[in-house]
Amino acid sequence: MKASSSQRFVNLISEILRISPQDVVDTIGMDDISTWDSLSHMQLIVTIESDFGIELSADEIVGMRTIGKIREVLHSKGIEA
């Protein structure tokens, strides 16, 4: 069975930031996870774009500093995350 987009989102974040899926919660941000640095942020952006078939603007990329903010942006593009 194909994973839902929200499951894919959690798996993607978990894999790139090397954190447990249980830790993929809205309040977690760049300041809380040592593996979420500028390089992994870029990888995150590119992977999200590729997996969900979207293109993010510069403002969106800069603003996506927490899991909750990333979800907000994806929701605004009609993606359940």
């Binding site: 390089l39 870029m42 990888q43 510069a58």
Partner: protein, 246 residues
Amino acid sequence: MDPSGKLVIVSGGLGSIGSSLADSLAEIGARIAVLDIHEATSASPTPPHPIYHVDLADEHSVASVLEDLVRDLGEPAILVNCAGLIHSEPLVNITNPNQRHHSRETWDAVLRSNLTATFNLSSQVAERMVMKRIRGLVINFSSISAQGNPGQSAYAAAKAGVEALTKVWARELGPFGIRSVAIAPGFIATSSTEAALTKEAIADLKRRTPLMRLGTTEEIFSAVRFAIENDYLTGTTIAINGGLAL
């Protein structure tokens, strides 16, 4: 990438190789912006491209000139880092009682012109490419001297540094579709080569080069064009040196 209609920044675009590249890129349809610290002279006349004078080793000047350039011409898709300063000086010179070891001043000047300048301009152009989502290309000019040319501690170190930056940027910027390629020319038949080397030294270089001649600016352009057009090429150095090994 098809360079037609793309804006290409050529740093050192008034120099022998830079000006030739700028002209050749324009001939295949690219739009050119030349950056150079020098003014045009009779030896390097004003090119038929917009020219911006800037000290690339000064990051604030780079930011300012890029702002002007983008306002005038739009966002660059390709950066060719051709600016640099060739300098020869042995690590130890026992024949000079006043300066028996390599001058720190010239070391700094050569590193600034070749390595810091490349870093300053590339970092700011790459930032624009990432933020504007431009799948661009940075071409860095290294040199055969990066192999370890005796008598060129500073220049060789700077150019080896440029090759290292090329690899780092390929890995960091690759996910954004931005490529980074270095070109390492050997000895090229230009007025600056003639000015820097004696006729005997040039004859000796030709003898040591398997292809028995100096390279041409057209052959350098051919490598640049290949780097632009091959979208799977990144993180590598293209050596154009007639087979010469130092």
